[in-house]
């Protein structure tokens, strides 16, 4: 007869083993993706890939520098608008929770968060591209910013809510006004987390393709003009991966690798940003 203790221990081991398998299955895709990207893309990775435009069809070499620049500009502009808006909305939703506006804002943000990015892209097309009558990097930034705001808002809200009430009381009892308490104590305390959340949302939108298809459109040239179509890494991947030439496919793999690296760097930066000086002894 097995003792109850042995039975209990056996059950525990089984459950732990099952969870271990679940973890493996969950992280496996990441390594598979990274693995195949490196396998397929790393060989074409060279300095010229980061400095040159694509070579004409049939020629080897060439790069995606124009798309890297485009992604930086489009995503940068989107972040410039999306992060402050998201943080402000998140602060409001958290510090004035219970008010009707906060409840509505939170609900709308949740709906927006669940909206497929292609719908956002169509919206940006209707509002910006169709009214201006031409594709533009601006329209792309607009679409990405719309994706960003609800993401940043929800993270901000959650993190601000984690700031202990004791800190708010401490500040108010010292004679701080409400807005000063919010900005100097609450926001400052939640800042590392907000920075992380924002960087992660930047990483997320950097890889968005669908909203850019109808807005930034893509381009073969270097461009600093936000008012005209512009290249972006995801668009390059999309175009070259679906093209007929093997050189293009190779380029698509390498561009994907670069994109993943950009996202990885941002995520690591986000990790480092959370290491704050005073948040723990």
């Amino acid at each position: 007869m097995i003792s109850r203790r042995a039975l209990r221990r056996g059950k525990s081991r089984l459950m732990v083993a099952l969870m271990g398998v679940a973890v493996l299955v969950a992280v496996l895709p990441l390594f598979l993706i990274l693995g195949s990207l490196i396998l397929e893309g790393a060989s074409s990775l060279s300095l010229s890939f980061f400095t040159n435009r694509p070579a004409p069809v049939g020629e080897v070499g060439g790069g995606v520098a124009h798309a890297i620049l485009g992604t930086l500009m489009i995503v940068g502009t989107a972040s410039l608008v999306g992060i402050p808006l998201g943080v402000a909305a998140g602060l409001y939703a958290s510090e004035y929770r219970g008010t009707r506006l906060a409840t509505i804002t939170r609900f709308v943000a949740d709906v927006l968060n669940g909206t497929p990015s292609i719908v956002i892209g169509l919206l940006a097309w209707t509002w910006v591209v169709a009214t201006q009558k031409h594709f533009s990097a601006f329209a792309g930034s607009f679409a990405l910013a719309m994706l960003m705001v609800p993401m940043v808002m929800r993270t901000t809200e959650e993190l601000v809510r984690l700031v202990p009430d004791a800190l708010r009381e401490a500040a108010l009892a010292l004679g701080y006004t409400r807005w000063r308490t919010t900005l100097v104590v609450v926001l400052r305390t939640a800042l590392p987390g907000i920075v992380t959340g924002s960087l992660l949302s930047v990483a997320r939108i950097a890889g968005e393709t669908a909203p850019l298809l109808f807005t930034a459109l893509g381009s073969e040239y270097f461009s600093f003009d936000m008012n005209r179509p512009m290249a972006a890494l995801p668009l390059v991947v999309y175009k070259y991966a679906s093209g007929p030439y093997p050189e293009w496919h190779k380029l698509a793999w390498t561009a994907s690798l670069v994109l993943i690296m950009v996202v990885l760097v941002l995520s690591i930066a986000a990790r480092l940003a959370t290491r704050q000086r005073f948040d723990r002894p």
Binding site: E169, A170, L172, L174, G175, V184
Partner: protein, 260 residues
């Protein structure tokens, strides 16, 4: 305004007349009338939920944070009506410092914790701040322990040190009144003793109101003690009288440990 009368400690710093307080429909303070003497320690004791903390938090209007509350009657600090619509809440809270149940330093350096109040409230010039920080830390009997680590995180201090830092932070605003809401309930006996010594020291310059669950503490530090029960002030008098010859039988029952 009552004004500052030298050598006249009998002029009360805080006066309540028929002061009542409601949370929504629930009346949690019933016509409280009392006076707190200037430059003295007054303890408020009573069972949990008796309204003693609520009363304390009315004095610097921390209850404003709670929605749907209402007051009636008078509450004056240094002659100013606390709930007057014309009251400047910011300067009122600077004059009435508060120390909370759990130490709540800002997640910043020890120095910044003190410098935060006066700097932001524009009471002080930037160049005076180091001096103010030192003075407040000395006043809170913390300077010798932290002088070499002023720019390290305040969260690295022990609980007792953190609480003294919070007292120092309150002092930096140059208040006249210090409210203490069970300031030692999260501290060990040694840290408690240090804070109590500090309270006795500070009463030379400040009017101190301390809410406490610990009757020994009230007996040790308070000049006068008030006993609250069910939202009413039952009895108030010299601490010794309250503890040795209470006039009310509820008070007697509470201090002898028969309820609460």
């Amino acid at each position: 305004m009552t004004g500052h009368v030298a050598g006249a400690p009998q002029v009360p710093a805080i006066v309540a007349r028929d002061f009542s307080f409601w949370y929504g429909e629930r009346k949690t303070l019933h016509e409280v009338s009392l006076v707190f003497s200037r430059r003295a320690v007054t303890a408020i004791i009573g069972p949990s939920g008796c309204g003693k903390s609520t009363f304390l938090r009315c004095i610097n209007r921390m209850n404003d944070l709670v929605p749907d509350t209402r007051v009636e009657g008078d509450l004056e600090v240094e002659g100013r009506e606390v709930y007057a619509p014309t009251l400047d809440l910011v300067s009122h809270r600077q004059r009435v410092g508060m120390v909370f149940q759990r130490p709540n330093p800002f997640p910043k350096s020890i120095y910044d914790n003190i410098a935060y109040g006066p700097a932001l409230n524009a009471l002080a010039l930037k160049k005076d701040l180091p001096e103010i920080v030192e003075r407040c830390l000395r006043r809170a009997a913390l300077w010798d322990e932290v002088k070499d680590r002023l720019h390290e995180s305040a969260l690295g201090l022990s609980g007792g040190q953190q609480q003294r830092l919070c007292i120092a932070r309150a002092l930096a605003n140059e208040p006249t009144v210090l409210l203490m809401d069970e300031p030692c309930s999260a501290l060990d006996p040694i840290a408690t003793q240090r804070v109590e010594e500090l309270i006795l020291e500070l009463k030379q310059d400040y009017t101190i109101v301390i809410v406490t669950h610990n009757m020994q503490q009230a007996a040790r530090v308070a000049d006068r003690t008030g006993f609250f029960d069910a939202g009413r002030l039952v009895e108030m008098g010299e601490t010794q009288q309250i503890f040795t010859a209470p006039r009310n039988e509820r008070t007697e029952a509470y201090i002898t440990g028969r309820f609460g």
